[in-house]
């Protein structure tokens, strides 16, 4: 009977393709929008993720997320270093100077000022040049996307000069950095050099990066620092989540994407449900004949579920493929780079599609189960 079910479905080309398209459309919209949302949220934490050599971020107690910095006095660095379990602790500056190229192009840039001695927090994926070159005068390392904004064509060249807040900055390295939320160029310099670019202020230290001694868990060290200094201390992942939650709570981004996902869910359910229901209605006299012949309700239910599962699976696979192809096609476009279909999103989309086809088939199953087989004699 499975064979009959599949032939009934597949040979009705228009409805078969309509069902697959509606489910593929829903799967594409859901997975695409969720992936972009997740990607954007991930971008908000890009500077946190790119710091791989320190486990704990220390900041003013009032700081809510990475882009809202309240500078700390230098004395806090020594207090943190004094906490038991701290292997090392260094300064980190994060500021937003204006970068300008010789041809007049300019952008606000994210400047990360790294500890002069250790360069802790430096990018690990250098494309051209060496991170040690940061020790040269006025040296900065810029991320590839930023470099391509200022110099769209030609090979990657070192030694080019930019102005950061009207002061000379020489590019000594080009790195791959995670795409930031604002799509600004990301630059790295020594802490002392960064001070020159942003001008003197009373407090300049944005964060303190700390690493626990061997055997001390990062979370425990963060708790100790918080308790002993009154500062906020979070592990990298915890700071990342705090940043993401800030954006979720305080921006319309999740509402916007959420509405799109809900619309996709509704449209997918209604269109596929209606098409599937019409398909079942049009086959009602055949289902009636099968019932009269002696096919059980359970078997007919199985046939409908098989049909729904087939279109659901094909539609889901097509939708996920469309999303994947979209992200593959746009991976080299600077402002769209870094978006991927997360495994969790693919799995979540699968369960949503499962829900859609369950609703779609439920109406048809109900109709078929309530079908009076004697109706088959009434034509």
């Amino acid at each position: 009977m499975n064979y009959i079910a599949l032939k009934m479905l597949v040979d009705d080309r228009a409805k078969y393709l309509g069902l697959i398209f509606s489910i593929a459309f829903a799967a594409f919209l859901i997975s695409h929008q969720c992936s972009i949302f997740a990607g954007l949220m991930s971008r908000t934490t890009s500077q946190i993720k790119d710091v791989t050599d320190a486990s704990v971020w220390v900041m003013d107690a009032s700081v809510q997320y990475v882009d809202e910095v309240k500078a700390l006095p230098e004395t806090e660095l020594y207090r943190v270093r004094a906490v038991s379990g701290v292997e090392w602790a260094v300064r980190l500056f994060k500021g937003l100077p204006t970068a300008k190229a010789a041809d007049g192009r300019f952008r606000t840039a994210i400047l990360m000022g790294l500890d002069d001695a250790s360069l802790a927090g430096a990018p690990r994926n250098m494309l051209v040049g060496s991170i040690d070159s940061l020790r040269e005068p006025d040296a900065v390392v810029i991320d590839l996307a930023g470099y391509r904004y200022f110099y769209p064509d030609g090979p990657l060249e070192l030694g080019r000069e930019l102005e950061l807040n009207d002061r000379r900055a020489r590019i000594v390295g080009i790195c791959n950095a995670s795409a930031p939320f604002q799509t600004f160029p990301v630059m790295f310099s020594r802490y002392s050099v960064a001070m020159n670019y942003v001008g003197p202020q009373r407090n300049m230290m944005s964060f303190i990066l700390a690493e626990p001694k061997p055997g001390v868990p990062a979370r425990e060290l963060a708790a100790r620092i918080g308790a002993e200094t009154g500062l906020k201390a979070l592990t990298g992942p915890a700071f990342g989540w705090a940043t993401i939650m800030y954006y979720i709570r305080n921006t319309g981004i999740p509402v916007n994407f959420g509405i799109t996902v809900i619309v996709a869910l509704i449209v997918g359910t209604v269109v596929s449900g209606q098409t599937f229901y019409i398909f079942a209605i049009e086959n009602m006299k055949h289902f009636g004949a099968l019932k009269a012949i002696g096919v059980t309700d359970a078997r007919l239910t199985g046939m409908i579920l098989l049909q729904a599962a087939l279109v659901g699976f094909i539609g889901y696979a097509l939708g996920i493929c469309m999303t994947t192809v979209f992200f593959l096609a746009t991976k080299d476009i600077i402002h769209l780079r870094g978006f991927i279909v997360y495994g969790e999103i693919a799995a979540g989309t699968f369960f949503i599609i499962l829900f859609i086809i369950a609703i779609a088939s439920l109406l048809s199953i109900r109709r078929v189960r309530n079908l009076e087989p004697a109706a088959v004699f009434r034509g």
């Binding site: 055949h286 009636g288 004949a289 009269a292 096919v295 004699f377």
Partner: protein, 236 residues
């Protein structure tokens, strides 16, 4: 509950059937008595609305009688559970419908194989058996044709094949010639009489078409939900 009546396919006594309830209740069958023997074709004839199709549906177990006794192939259908009734239909009954009710996406052979597939016979074996039967019925060249590619007479031959492929003991036909011209209808009845009538099997035909009465062993004329007369024809 088994009712011993070995030579009868169907035995109805005081059968009534009401539709609706309270003020809207309509009695369609009024204490109807009929015996349908094995080994022949019994036709139920009468005007539209006289209760022929309702009686056929009750014999098929697709409708329940309101009151009275009904025995089909020695079984009281009212004593069977819903699941047992479905199984009983699958194993013992064959159906031929006025509009053929062939599945449009299946080939002739696949359509004829449907009762076997429903009983769990593997696809290849079921289609093979259906093909052999269709060849016997003169459709050897159209095994792979879909219903839309067949004439009305050919479709009804496929329906006959579907009705007999699982060797049921009772075949129920609802106006099998209504959608066919006179000659094709005659040919279809000829085929039905040759292929379906066996000593241990009964065929019940609901019809308006008096031109096919010659194929019957008995014709029950119905009027207003009652058997008006039973005419015994050529015995086989």
């Amino acid at each position: 509950m088994n009712i011993p009546s070995p030579k009868l396919a169907v035995r109805c006594r005081s059968l009534t059937k009401d539709f609706g309830s309270a003020e809207t209740q309509v009695r369609v069958l009024h204490g109807l008595d009929i015996d349908i023997p094995l080994g022949g074709i019994t036709m139920l004839a009468g005007q539209s609305g006289c209760g022929k199709t309702t009686l056929l549906s009750i014999i098929a177990g697709l409708l329940n009688a309101t009151s009275g006794d009904l025995s089909v192939l020695g079984n009281s259908l009212t004593a069977l559970s819903k699941k047992e009734a479905v199984l009983f239909r699958r194993r013992n009954l064959g159906f031929i419908f006025q509009q053929y009710n062939l599945l449009p996406t299946l080939t002739a052979a696949e359509n004829a194989a449907v009762p076997l597939l429903g009983d769990g016979v593997p696809l290849d074996e079921a289609v093979g058996r259906a093909s052999t039967l269709l060849e016997r019925l003169g459709l050897g060249a159209r095994l792979h044709s879909r219903p839309a590619q067949l004439s009305g007479g050919q479709q009804q031959r496929v329906a006959i094949a579907r009705a007999i492929i699982h060797s049921p003991r009772l075949i129920l036909c609802d106006e099998p010639t209504a959608a066919l011209d006179g000659k094709t209808g005659h040919d279809v009845m000829q085929l039905l009489a040759e292929a379906a009538v066996e000593p241990d099997r009964a065929v019940v035909v609901v019809t308006h078409d008096h031109r096919i009465f010659d194929f019957a062993t008995q014709v029950a004329h119905m009027e207003d939900g009652r058997i008006k007369s039973i005419e015994t024809k050529n015995q086989t």
